[in-house]
């Protein structure tokens, strides 16, 4: 299976998991990915991009809402950053979690 396809599938799983059980689905899914895919090519890279994709899809759904700009800029102001930076944070956080949790699992499974 190509990395691209793996990213798509894992991203879909993250999207579905987040919708079903909330944000904890992200670390759980990417950690699980790190365990089961430790022998595949670049599992941490795949998990990182899949995490961005998985939440990015949901973000695009949010962006279809009529208040998206107001919410993003409002929350940016609350956190003393701007609206675009808040959106970037929504993508940066899953990237970091996906990277770190899959990396931990991968390191656990790796045999040297």
């Amino acid at each position: 299976m190509s990395s691209f396809l793996r990213i798509l599938l894992l991203g879909a799983a993250i999207t579905a998991g987040t919708m079903a059980v909330g944000w904890w689905a992200l670390p759980v899914t990417t950690f699980a990915w790190g365990l089961v895919a430790s022998r595949t090519r670049r599992p941490v890279f795949v998990a990182t991009l899949a995490a961005i994709l998985g939440w990015g899809v949901l973000l695009a759904w949010d962006a279809s809402g009529e208040s998206f700009r107001l919410v993003a800029s409002g929350m940016g102001n609350v956190l003393k950053i701007n609206g675009p930076a808040f959106i970037e944070l929504v993508l940066l956080y899953p990237a970091l979690v996906g990277f770190a949790s899959s990396g931990a699992a991968h390191a656990l499974m790796r045999e040297d």
Binding site: T15, T18, M19, G22, W23, W24, P27, F31, W55, L58, L59, W61, D62, A63, S64, G65, E66, S67, F68, L70, V71, A72, G74, M75, N77, V78, L79, I87, L89, V90, Y93, P94, L96, V97, A100, S101, G103, A104, H106, A107, L108, M109, R110, E111, D112
Partner: protein, 829 residues
Amino acid sequence: MRIGPLIGFSLVTGGLLWIGARGAAPLPALGPLLDPANGVLAMSRTTELPRTWSGQVPGLSAPATVTYDDRGVPHVKAATIEDAYRAVGFVVARDRLFQMELQFRASAGRLAELSPRALPLDTLARTIGLPWGAERRFAALPKDSPAMRALEAYADGVNAYVAQMPKAALPVEYRLLGRTPMRWEAKHAFYFLARMNQTLSFALPELNVLKAQLLVGREAAEALYAPVASIQEPIQPNGQKAPRFDLPPMPDPGAPDPGAMGETKVVAMALSAFGAMAEGDETRRQASNNWAISARRTRDGHAILAGDPHLDLSLPSIWYEVQLTVPGRLDTYGFTFAGTPGVVLGFNRDVAWSATNTGADVVDFYRETVDDAKHPTKYQVDGQWRPIETHAETYRGPRDVVLLEDTLRFTHRGPLRKLGAQWVSMRWTALDTTHAAASLSSFQAADTAKSVAMLMETTADYPGPAQNFVMADREGNIGIRSTGLYPIRPAEGSGLVVRDGSTSASDWTGYWAPKDYPQSVNPPQGYLASANQQPIDPKGGSRYLGADWPPPWRAIRINQRLRADSAWTPAAVARMQVDSASARADFLVPYFLDAAARLRAAGRETPQIARAAKLLAEWRRAYVPSDKRAILFEFSMERLNQLLWDELERPDSQAALRPRRPTGLALARLLQQPNSKWWDDRHTPALETRDDILARALALGLEDVQKAFGKDSSSDDWRWGHASPIRLNHLLAIPAFSVDSVQARSGPETIAPRSAGGTHSASERLIVELGPTVRAWTTYPGGQSGNPFSVLYRDRIWKWANGAVDSVIFGDVPAARVRSTLTLTAGAK
């Protein structure tokens, strides 16, 4: 296994998960916040009302429809009155859920569960008995009463909304605090009412009298916070065609009686423990206007009613606008509180009503004799020991952490506190169970009243906080009554003394009968008005109702304008609601200018005084945003108060014993006494007179303005709107959700009002014309939605600031103005 990378990745993962789950101050938990499926950005999909939607509410006897108009006002149509309240609970919860919970917590003393910084507010709320009183009042409500049915129906609606609320619609405040909504209970409305009582009726004139007594003696202290207002423009018409200025000489500041010093000090400090919140004199700041014009004084021959309650402004507003229709039984429109069912201020097809705060003295204190100075279990009355009711109180913080444990004690009078060696109990009408149901049912009955006479009858038992209810009906009648429980004290005494609690002879003997309340119906003058002034002219021999009345500057201006016109229209009334001309300035400015002129004649005028007087003389005495002289007057008044009341200063270490500055009524009296000892500035060796102090205040005021806004008096920085904007703070004071630079036509003690900090002004405006077809206009600063991301969160602010009001839809909403339609059907509990 690769140990090094495993440890590194695990640490990073752990850190990220910690921040995701618990947050890192000041950041909230980032996981649920950033989650795009159900987190804060998901609110984008739920913030605005859908075109059509549906919900289920247990107990509905038939489907109810809610049509939101383009201003976001829900028009509820239901089969029964209880169904209407279920629907209101549902829609108010959608728009104001967090506000409802916060208001409950403020009264219950449970704010610290959200933030430990709120602990002092919690201890005060519980100390003055807010939750104790709310529980007692709720328990006194008959289970099958209309008020109880209304509360339960409303709670059903609120909880039904919360149960069906999409995760994405959770209000942002809960997300930032990491909380979920609490279950709403019927009794929570009584907590809200207790909090309103604290805001509106927790006035402690005796506290200021005692504190001043420590500094200037009893006689001077009583004169500073007198039970008689020296300028009279009463609510109950006195037949005069102009305000009356009775300005008797003020006694000079005296020396405190050393013998009384000890006891007075102890009691004053004990009262301070009860009245910490009253230090800023919150109750005295709560001002409002209302008036009614009879049919014969209006252009079109229909009575007109106007009201604008002045409260601390917040986002969202304390008010929520709604129409309730139950065919054949109820058709009412107006303002409701988020958390209580029914329209509180508004109108129906026949009558309209509004209210201002009466400010009566309904709190008294008693020195108690207890069996044990440290841990009393009994207190003595008429030689008999009575048990003290004790409550173990636990104050919790976030995550259930125990912040404080305390024991609260209560006598039959109310909360009991100790400071120093003295135990003092407090009695307050807000904690009594008398007419408890009427605090809600009065408004329910008003919603269906048919005439002024019926309104008078249905609100007669209303217990408080005492309000000056003004009313008008379609027959052209008008009426006003200052309604609420007013204590009858022993020997018709005043509330300015602390009584001996060891005898039942000190207790209240009852409450005034409603026939004795200040009131008037269809007076010959053809109009009625109130603006928190002393309700009855004391020349008529009125009983003690309160003390430390605010000066009636707004009342003077309102009456002046109402007298001057006999062809009123709703548009003219709307303009009058934002009148910023100042009767206060009309009275005070000449004293400043005359003082400067006399110093000039005596050759003692400095260039700074001359400059300040010239600038002040240019002022047109109105607080419009573009005016560049009002700020000089206000800064000079602040300096005047500092210089004049130096006798009431205390060292910072005794700040709790510093009395509040007397109102303008005491100042008005002193202005008639140019050589009173009050004018002398104790910080200087010279003996100052009135003119010296006025001129000095003017010069210092100019200096202050120049320091703050530059020396160029033609600069835009001197504009009133720039120098003194209105501020609307979010409930959690989050700057991003607050609006802090609203330029509005409004000034201190003008009809269009504002406080010094700009956080207090007209919380809503209502105008009703009671013709064959009732027409009404409303606005308030804020918007219907409590969601800071909604277009309905702050959409009304700018129109409100400009003095504009919206014509309301009273009846079916035209298709072109329908924003959303909600259908509610019966659901399971």
